[in-house]
């Protein structure tokens, strides 16, 4: 078990090294780069005119339905990997079971399609 944890030591070390790289680079840039803020320079970019309203404005977002679909399918993908690793030794029973599981999900996708979720225009 200690072996198992220590194999992630490199992952941790590399993530830390990446953070250090970013910190060092930003510090260097702070020392080298000029810093002359002006009110006009610090305005939000909006095609050259003064910004209208605020940046966090409301807009029509159609993506939330995809978000729901994704959650269902991504959970399935997590279940898929353990099964993919061992299904061969379990034989036909495992294949049929996964077939039923996928068929239920596919029915959900079919329903979403028939409801016109994936058509915008």
């Amino acid at each position: 078990m200690p072996d198992y944890y220590s194999s992630y030591g490199v992952v941790l070390a590399v993530v830390a090294a990446g953070a250090i790289l970013v910190a060092v680079a930003f510090t260097a840039a702070k020392l080298i780069a000029p810093h002359r803020p002006l009110p006009a320079k610090l305005t939000t970019y909006e095609c050259g005119i003064d910004p209208v309203g605020e940046g966090w404005s409301q807009s029509q977002i159609r993506y939330y339905v995809f978000g729901f679909l994704f959650v269902i399918f991504d959970v399935e993908a997590v279940f898929l990997f353990p099964w993919a690793r061992v299904f061969e030794s379990l034989g036909w029973a495992a294949v049929v079971e996964m077939g039923i599981f996928i068929a239920i999900l596919a029915t959900g996708l079919l329903y979403a399609w028939r409801k016109g979720v994936v058509r915008w225009a």
Partner: protein, 335 residues
């Protein structure tokens, strides 16, 4: 069939002290990340300049514009770092790091040969797929914290694109895991000793590459940064070094996904039968060829529309990849 997890990392076989090995592995991964993606960036400069007959990148340093990359680096580091007054300052500054670091972590499990690798995690490919989807959080942070309408639209597009194309990517990778019988990156390469998986899994390879293009927001799937619609998407407000880190994340992503595709489908460090080329050279050659393919398509295809992109994944790639895993499952148990 479960393959033995072969190979000892060259770092572990040379040194026995845990901390020395850890340090050397970290240095090797960071060195790889700082060299190879810049090489890809250089090829993108020159390749696109040739493909599109652009003269700009051919000037710096006289001969063939060899100094262009150096000039870009110098420019990025001495440019003023402008943070808009309306922006959420801390999140804005943290976003480039969140976008870039996951791609460095992916390189930890990428094997260059059966002894040249940093770590052979048991869950290899699962770890890679998990890390590859963290990066978009950095893009979301950038888009939201900029307090800019273009940035917000770009970030939402990026997130929706990741959501749609994450699934075909993961399911195609699962089909390879089914055939190899292991999640370890080296195990998957060893399973391709006789036959590269691109031959039995050609549809999976195509699905994987299309999804990888979308994950990296490369053309023809670059709606999140569509310059003619939303300026530069989530990166609109970024300047100087912070912007450069987003670019580095993109090139790091190209290298990471080329490496993953080479491991999953092109036999990783396995040489072509009958041609004795050393493993590391073979692997780097495959990464280079796939990275060039990423650049090549940028000069070839126009951008899709946002809703076409979503339809293509939900009604095309996802049902296809689900059919693929059932096909592989039946074939594997029947034969």
């Amino acid at each position: 069939m479960i393959l033995a997890e072969t190979g000892v990392s060259v770092f572990s076989s040379l040194f026995s002290n845990f901390w020395v090995v850890l340090l050397l592995k970290t240095i090797a991964v960071m060195g790889f990340f700082l060299v190879v993606p810049l090489g890809v960036g250089y090829v993108e400069h020159k390749g696109l300049a040739h493909m599109q007959a652009r003269l700009g990148p051919m000037e710096a340093g006289r001969f063939h514009g060899w100094a262009q990359l150096v000039a870009d680096g110098v420019k990025f580091i001495q440019k003023e770092d402008v943070v808009p007054a309306a922006a959420d300052r801390n999140v804005f500054s943290l976003a480039p790091a969140v976008a870039m670091i996951p791609y460095i972590a992916i390189l930890v499990v990428l094997p260059i040969s059966d002894s040249w690798f940093a770590e052979n995690l048991d869950v290899g490919i699962f770890f890679v797929l998990a890390m590859s989807s963290v990066s978009v959080i950095g893009v979301m942070m950038a888009g939201w914290s900029s307090a800019n309408k273009f940035s917000l639209i770009g970030a939402l597009r990026a997130a929706a694109q990741l959501i749609a194309y994450e699934l075909p990517l993961v399911i195609a990778a699962a089909a390879v895991v089914m055939q190899a019988g292991t999640l370890s990156m080296i195990g998957i390469v060893e399973a391709q000793q006789d036959l590269w998986f691109i031959i039995p899994q050609l549809p999976g390879f195509l699905i994987f590459m299309i999804a990888a293009f979308a994950e990296l927001q490369r053309p023809p799937f670059d709606m999140p940064i569509a310059d003619s619609e939303i300026i530069f998407g989530a990166y609109t407000e970024y300047t100087g070094l912070k912007f450069a880190f987003f670019l580095l994340a993109e090139y790091g992503g190209i290298v990471a996904f080329s490496g993953i595709a080479a491991v999953l489908y092109l036999g990783g460090y396995q040489p072509l039968p009958g041609i004795p080329i050393p493993g590391p050279l073979m692997m780097m050659g495959k990464i280079g060829a796939l990275a060039f393919f990423f650049i090549w398509l940028r000069a070839t295809y126009p951008r899709l529309r946002e809703d076409q992109l979503q339809r293509f994944s939900w009604l095309g790639l996802i049902p296809l990849s689900l059919a693929l895993i059932m096909g592989v499952a039946v074939a594997k148990v029947a034969f």
